[in-house]
Point group: C2
Chain length 400, copies 2
């Protein structure tokens, strides 16, 4: 039976840690599994490589940057494979392209288009442990590419999809929690969670896995087990939604503090004007998260939206242009805001979650500024000062 295990940078940051990782890999092999291991670059290597490039220019050629960054995982796979080989188990290290990872898109942000899995399968059938460099592949032109943030998870889940097996993600946390335990220490570990909920939580700011890795798992029905590489405690399983999960209306709560809220006051109301604001932002590649618009009053409307704090400079540039266009508008900027979201497949069938949250907030004098909803989540923008209180109230109310 095949299994894919992925180990992140902190799990392989030293030879000593690699020895621990090798223990886990060998244990699986001894249990009879054909083991594929996907690894990230050691510790902070990727950042150090980027720092080197930044010494040359703040805007290094992206193809060269991929060439540079991909060495990080290549070092990891060669050393980890040496460790396994030295322990008397046959291991083979493969770069992304050697493992058949084909990618497309722009450099430093490629996507996996396909995996030619034959070479991996051949080594597995010869009894070898296959150690694959995460985060990288090769495009149609034969250029080395990288997959962007969370790329090693993507590699692992995609390989597991091709091998039709479970994917185990080993990291420095011991599972998925209903709430970030650093903010709410009583948070409960989730035994199992549906792909949909996990995707929603990831895209709402939970940092445990990137949305697109979970999305690949969802599309190809790859069970993803998230656990600690350091301690031997039970982790969390991301899998298809089933009836047993339905007991809870809310599965998790995510908190995002990287929120910039902008309010544009007194925009002369017309669909063209509203559209102009967001077209301008889109043309600068600013990703808008939440939007709300008041109803027109004297043919004027107020518009609020949120985006990432990283976009502050670009957004304010656009706002200045806007003020030139509409002399009477006012711009308000708020960075002391936090987005709190509740997520749960149970919302599909249970109405009234939003009402329940509104009541909890009202009873506890928590003001919220923007609200958006999806089929399985509701997000609220609140003052950052109320974050801790809001999280505790919601976590207790929904037993998270």
């Amino acid at each position: 039976m095949n299994i894919v295990q992925k180990y992140g940078g902190s799990s392989v940051e030293s030879i000593e840690k690699m020895q621990n990782v090798a223990n886990r890999i060998i244990r699986k092999k001894e249990e009879g599994y054909d083991v594929v291991v996907v690894v990230s670059a050691m510790g902070k290597t990727t950042n150090q490589l980027i720092e080197m490039a930044k010494k040359i220019t703040i805007n290094p050629s992206q193809r060269d940057l991929d060439m540079l960054m991909s060495t990080g995982e290549q070092v990891s796979i060669s050393l980890l494979s040496m460790v396994i080989n030295a322990r008397g188990y046959e291991s083979i290290s493969l770069t992304g392209f050697q493992a058949g990872i084909k990618t497309e898109g722009i450099h430093t942000k490629n996507k996996i288009s396909d995996i030619e899995i034959d070479r991996v399968k051949k080594h597995l059938s010869n009894g070898k442990i296959v150690v694959i460099a995460g985060f990288q592949g090769m495009n149609e032109d034969g250029d080395i590419t990288t997959l962007g943030r969370g790329g090693s998870d993507t590699t692992a889940v995609a390989v597991a999809a091709k091998l039709e097996c479970v994917c185990e993600i080993y990291t420095d946390v011991d599972g998925i929690y209903s709430v970030d335990p650093r903010i709410y220490p009583n948070a409960k570990k989730i035994e199992s969670i549906s792909y949909e909920e996990m995707m929603e939580m990831s895209s709402l700011g939970a940092k445990i896995m990137e949305t697109r890795s979970v999305e690949i798992g969802y599309r190809y029905k790859v069970p993803i087990y998230v656990a600690s590489s350091l301690v031997d405690v039970k982790g969390s399983l991301i899998k298809e939604y089933d009836e047993l999960m339905e007991n809870k209306s809310i599965t998790g709560l995510t908190i995002s503090e990287n929120v910039l809220m902008i309010t544009v006051i007194n925009v002369p109301y017309s669909p063209e004007n509203i559209s102009a604001v967001f077209s301008k932002l889109a043309s600068k590649d600013v990703n808008i998260d939440m939007i709300s618009q008041t109803s027109p009053n004297n043919s004027l409307v107020n518009l609020s939206f949120t985006t990432s704090k990283d976009e502050e400079y670009t957004v304010m540039e656009v706002m200045t242009q806007l003020k030139n266009q509409f002399a009477h508008i006012e711009i308000q900027k708020d960075i002391a805001v936090t987005k709190v979201s509740v997520v749960g497949m149970g919302m599909k069938n249970q109405s009234g979650i939003a009402a329940q949250v509104f009541k909890l907030f009202a009873d506890n004098q928590i003001h919220f500024k923007l609200v958006t909803t999806s089929e399985i989540s509701i997000s609220y923008t609140i003052n950052s000062a109320d974050k801790q209180k809001a999280v505790s109230i919601l976590a207790e109310a929904f037993n998270l």
Copy 2:
């Protein structure tokens, strides 16, 4: 017109040094050349990577070691290419396999079997500066391989052979000297030297280039220009032998101090016994350099041979076995010996060089122990104490 430039590890050990290298590359480009650059790993990177591997085991899996070491040049090419791109010239970095370098043999000591040069040619014809990782390639199985000592020179000369152009080797010395200037400061820089002489000098211990790089140059008639990457002075050209070079009987003098001399006394004379000694050494992969045998006396002969000091442990093991076989032999070990060789195509046509050297040694009380000759060289093993004197006498006599 094409040109290949190779820069060694010390020439690219920092971003600052890479900027200097970029100056030279860009100058050639501006002169109208289509430039291919071959680079080594930065500074001592390769040794550092080997040290990491040695922390795991003294005998790391060789395929993994190649995978590890090859990252060194990959870092160099990506950074150097970024430097060139940032200066406004179009550059493309290629790993060994991307540049079409096909290899065969055992890991860490592969040889180039062929180069599929089309990709390099395509980029050149698009006006790009092509930056290739030296020292590495890919074998038939699609494994990343390395080429052993001097591998980046080999890559550079082989690429120049395919492109039918000159190969410039930039290093930390400013040319080829008739004698190692660290031992004989008055040594003259050689303006041009034949492939045959350079191969002979390399194999006799001159460290400037590995024999096999010169050999590829010889086979494919690639002019090889050796010069400094730091200062702008004229270097030395390795090229086909021509009549003008014939003025001198001796072109160069090499000194090797990595010599272990063993003398086996009182071996019962028979071709089988002599053969047994060298078969045993060969079976342990000990490379024998010079051999001399006295004529039999009372059916006993004395045998002397030299090898590298690195082989001492293995050689002495074999000698112990030999003593078990022949009770009456005696073994003498001498590590205080130096091999001095004179090299020159002129020897082919001028007789009496050996006699001239013998007389010089006799006049100056220099004892020599072993003598071997090839068509264009004569090597003498002398006491290390006499090295400086012997070198001066020979250099002066032959105007080196």
